[in-house]
């Protein structure tokens, strides 16, 4: 679904886009009006852009981490950047260890992660390990909190992350190579090369990183804090990504992408727990290809993907457990721009899972899932945008309900300086039972019902543009509420644990964010602040559910906040991130909790021109500068103050 239009990177095409669609997708996705002036140039090739899927996500909050925000984390993972720069909470079992997300008070299984339009959550677990998603594999991360199954399919209950690598057309050859030297034996290298003209865009990115992670941490002992050195937390990680976009004539576009990730991790034992020398090898091979044909009124697209996800785990106590799931999927869609202010997209998706997992027994398990969708976007007035989407999934066994979404955005005030937009949406969502939930033996429950949610959100976005002061301030406030039913929980039975549809969970909260851009001259400042209040609790449950109602769900912080600044001045750069994570209960009765923590990171860098086409960037990064002893997940040590020195050579 990530057949990215060229709009984001090529504003000069906007005139064409407007002529074709009389609307402004790029602005629409930001909830912003179109800029006053649009540069229209005599272009070598006039092209009709396709519609991004989020064009149909009217009324939902969305935000983007673009290549500028990602650039300092080039050798890191999505877990690093999301933890530092957003108010999203990730449960982190140690540096480089399992990092699982919670969005809007739901669990990690309720966040859909899409790469080039395909869901890349591990089919066995139904969630993604964000420590395995390397930044080098992608150049843009769009985040859409809230339910959106109509647009993004299975698991888009708490939110969706869209990973993509939109091309920069006509940029020629470019390249960079980076090497990192950091605390606790961290060594990393990244090589990126890209080429693009007006017909072809290529990008290759290679990453290698390793860390000993023999950091020191404090353990509470009877006599006070005892300093200890972390054992058995070393890791090696590699990633290779290759993107190709080939324009075929004026209307056709062929896309292909490969993303291979490989991580070999020692599993960090909990503080004071038995070190069983557990190790995990995670390998994901992701291949996709697509073709898109665009005319002035119609757009056809078809994509196929093949994934292989391997998780091999071993420890001294239980031995080796191997898991391999191959996912083959296809998507096809047709978009009809039947009026200048209206478009309709209909499409379908088919997925085939083939799992060879020790935990499922010796014979392979296969499962097919299908869904069909219709997405409608209609702008009755230039300042009023509406969308109505729906999807019906077909799962083996029990069916999820129809999952429609209705959204509206209205630009209530529009002056040269200020814009105020109001937005609202209502959405149903679903999550199919994971392969583990269905097939794990013993305990796997093939009769599990899909979870489904019903959510609402409303918000206001304000943009202040003071052109003389070179200042732009974007502020957004969103309130939401969602009821998730048939919530699945593993519970102990007479002989083994089994997942069951146990309860209903209500998540509600507030999200506030503001971004300031100021460029008075050579100095350039971007500052972002975001805060999330997340109240999520069980509202009712079946007789088999012994957890109390009305308590904040475990590992779900009520309060999270992030504040970041990026300063640029004549080749110098300074970035700071400050992240607050409130206390999190560790049990469903809200009895014990992990204390809140505040983390400060900073990066100082200097870019030096080495010649007409060569530049050198030196970056010094400091993490946890206040030397805070904290735990993200219960009983998992995290490093104290640590640092990283990077050297990047850029060509063009």
């Amino acid at each position: 679904m990530r057949f990215v239009s060229c709009l984001r990177n090529f504003p000069q095409f906007l005139g064409v886009a407007l002529a074709a669609t009389a609307s402004f997708p790029a602005a629409a996705q930001l909830g912003l009006p179109a800029p006053d002036s649009i540069r229209t140039q005599n272009l070598p090739s006039v092209r009709v852009p396709g519609l991004r899927p989020d064009r149909f996500a009217v009324g939902s909050r969305r935000f983007t981490l673009d290549s500028l925000a990602l650039t300092t984390y080039r050798t890191g993972t999505l877990a690093d950047v999301l933890s530092a720069r957003t108010a999203l909470h990730l449960k982190n079992y140690g540096p480089g260890q399992l990092a699982s997300i919670t969005m809007r008070g739901t669990s990690a299984r309720h966040t859909a992660v899409l790469w080039n339009g395909f869901n890349i959550n591990l089919p066995s677990l139904g969630e993604a390990d964000f420590a395995l998603l390397t930044i080098s594999g992608t150049t843009q991360v769009d985040i859409q909190p809230g339910p959106a199954s109509a647009t993004y399919g299975n698991g888009a209950v708490g939110g969706t992350l869209l990973l993509s690598s939109p091309p920069r057309w006509g940029a020629g050859w470019r390249g960079s190579v980076q090497t990192d030297y950091g605390s606790f034996g961290l060594r990393a290298g990244n090589l990126e090369a890209s080429f693009s003209n007006q017909k072809l865009a290529l990008r290759t990115s290679l990453l290698y990183r390793q860390a000993q992670n023999d950091f020191t941490y404090y353990e509470q002992a009877g006599t006070g804090r005892v300093r200890r050195r972390q054992q058995h937390a070393a890791l090696q990680q590699a990633s290779l990504s290759q993107d190709l976009i080939l324009r075929l004539g004026q209307r056709g576009e062929l896309t292909a992408a490969v993303w291979l990730t490989d991580a070999d991790r020692q599993i960090q034992p909990g503080i004071g727990t038995n070190n069983t020398n557990a190790e995990e090898r995670d390998q994901s091979r992701r291949l996709m290809a697509g073709y898109r044909h665009v005319s002035s009124r119609h757009e056809w697209a078809a994509r196929v993907a093949w994934f292989e996800d391997i998780i091999n785990y071993r420890d001294d106590v239980s031995g080796l457990s191997e898991s391999r799931v191959r996912t083959t999927q296809a998507q096809a869609e047709h978009t009809w721009r039947f009026a200048s202010n209206a478009s309709l997209r209909v499409g379908g998706e088919a997925q085939h899972f083939a799992a060879q997992v020790d935990g499922y027994g010796t014979r392979p398990r296969t499962e097919n899932r299908f869904s069909g969708f219709a997405l409608l976007r209609y702008d009755p007035q230039p300042r009023l945008r509406l969308s109505l989407n729906t999807r019906q999934a077909l799962l083996p066994g029990r069916q999820p309900p129809l999952t429609p979404t209705a959204g509206a955005e209205w630009v209530a005030l529009q002056t040269p300086q200020q814009t105020i937009s109001l937005k609202a949406s209502a959405s149903r969502s679903y999550r199919a039972p994971t392969l583990n939930e269905r097939y794990w033996r013993p305990g796997g429950n093939p009769d599990l019902l899909p979870e489904h949610g019903l959510g609402y959100e409303g918000g206001v976005a304000h943009v202040l543009t003071l052109a003389p002061a070179h200042l732009r301030l974007q502020t957004e406030l969103t309130g939401y509420r969602q009821l998730v039913d048939n919530w699945v929980q593993w519970t102990p039975g007479a002989t083994y644990w089994s997942p069951r549809n146990l309860r209903q969970v209500r998540a509600q909260g507030l999200e506030a964010s503001t971004q300031l851009g100021w460029q008075p001259g050579a100095y350039q400042l971007t500052a972002r602040a975001s805060y999330a209040f997340t109240h999520s609790e069980k509202t009712k449950g079946t007789a088999a559910d012994s957890d109390p109602v009305g308590r904040q769900l475990p590992f779900t912080p009520l309060h999270t906040a992030a504040f970041s600044t990026d300063h640029l001045w004549r080749g110098w750069q300074l970035s700071t991130t400050l992240n607050f994570t409130g206390y999190r209960y560790t049990d469903a009765s809200a009895t014990s909790f992990l204390p809140s923590y505040l983390l400060l990171n900073a990066t100082v860098g200097r870019t030096v021109a080495m010649g007409p086409t060569w530049k050198l960037l030196v970056l010094a990064q400091g993490y946890n500068l206040t030397n805070r002893s904290y735990q993200s997940y219960q009983n998992s040590a995290m490093p104290l103050r640590n640092g990283l020195l990077s050297l990047r050579v850029l060509w063009r």
Binding site: G270, P492, A494, T495, D587, S589
Partner: protein, 363 residues
């Protein structure tokens, strides 16, 4: 770990609780023809909260019988200013000391029962399960070592708190019981009980019992009762239990000095009986089975077909003083509950403890 506190330390408590009576006894023994009937007095209940695997949130909750309330939900960490460790498997008492087996921290914590301060930590065990003391000087710990292989029993010098030797036993050794100078070790990965001479630490032999023995107690006559869960067999694709191959659980009794057992099977293989517990006078057995608690006298010919309590428990304990039954609910997600029942099976009250109350020590 219900058993050892009751079985191994009962004599001590008998002494403590009825010193006056014993004093009288010594003056005029003929006045009391049945000294073993002297009532046991317990005041406190230590509830072992297993905690969540890897999260090191195990702890002991202290329940005060007089006030019927939990006086310390997290007794160990409150007294010691640190976490107990990862997965508290069991606790036993010897003299004035408590021995807490912390399974996934591979250690045995020795605490003073008066203030619950840690006195020693015996580390580097290999997945320890249960502890039993045979005297003030000597104790034994069962250790899984690794799944699929032989387990072991470590001999602990309780004066130095050092492991003095290890004895190889069967697979997955679980609870033990002592009768005379013999230690009976249930090998739950097999169908046998290993008998160890507590004077020489030599293995005297193995007694065949039902499949998967996991708990054992010693009755007033020195007979050893062993409860086996039965071997659970799954179907070819491991999606469900194959009840045509799953064996029934059983209750075996071994006479002192014998290396054979008399075994009675329970009536159904759809549930594994477990948590064998004995009362204060050591003549009434209790166990969990088919989502309930069953009880049988040591001289009864038939195993019961109806439960005393119809409720499933993760942990079972019987107060040796008055046969009050303690059942722990194990949700492993929330602070769990313990429900108390009169000896008749009538519910009494309940109280909240930590995560996964798996056993009870009455003191």
């Amino acid at each position: 770990m219900k058993l050892f506190p009751t079985s191994a330390n009962l004599p001590f408590r008998v002494l403590l609780g009825s010193a006056a009576a014993l004093g009288l006894l010594s003056c005029d023994p003929s006045n009391d023809p049945e000294p073993t009937e002297t009532p046991v007095v317990t005041r406190s209940v230590f509830v072992v909260n297993e905690g969540n695997f890897r999260r090191a949130n195990a702890d002991i909750s202290l329940f005060n019988k007089a006030s019927s309330s939990v006086t310390s939900p997290t007794l160990f960490s409150t007294a010691n200013g640190r976490a107990l460790g990862d997965v508290a498997q069991s606790m036993a008492v010897q003299d004035s000391l408590g021995y807490i087996v912390v399974n996934n921290s591979n250690k045995l914590e020795v605490v003073s029962l008066a203030k619950f301060k840690s006195k020693a930590t015996i580390s580097n065990l290999q997945l320890p399960r249960y502890f039993v003391a045979v005297s003030s000087d000597k104790g034994y710990i069962t250790e899984t070592v690794a799944y699929g292989g032989a387990g072991q029993v470590s001999v602990v010098n309780l004066k130095t708190n050092q492991v003095t030797r290890t004895i190889a036993v069967g697979a997955q050794p679980e609870r033990m019981t002592v009768s005379g100078n013999r230690l009976y070790v249930t090998n739950s990965g097999e169908s046998s009980v290993t008998v160890i001479n507590t004077t020489t630490d030599a293995i005297e032999g193995t007694v065949p019992v039902g499949d998967s023995p996991g708990s054992a107690v010693t009755d007033r006559n020195g007979n050893v009762w062993v409860l086996s869960g039965g071997k659970v067999v799954y179907n070819a694709d491991y999606t469900a239990i194959d009840y045509t191959k799953t064996t029934k659980g059983s209750l075996s009794v071994i006479a002192p000095g014998q290396l054979t057992a008399q075994t009675r099977q329970v009536d159904s293989n759809t549930s594994s009986p477990g948590d064998l517990t004995i009362n204060g006078p050591k003549d009434q057995l209790y166990y969990t089975y088919r989502g309930g608690v069953y009880t049988v006298g040591i001289n009864e010919a038939q195993l019961p077909t109806t439960p005393l309590i119809r409720r499933s428990f993760y942990g079972l304990g019987v107060d040796p003083q008055d046969n009050t039954i303690y059942g722990g609910i194990g949700s492993f997600t929330a602070a769990d509950k313990v429900i108390r029942y009169r000896s008749t099976g009538a519910a009494l009250d309940s109280f909240t403890v930590g995560i996964g109350p798996s056993s009870f020590v009455f003191y």
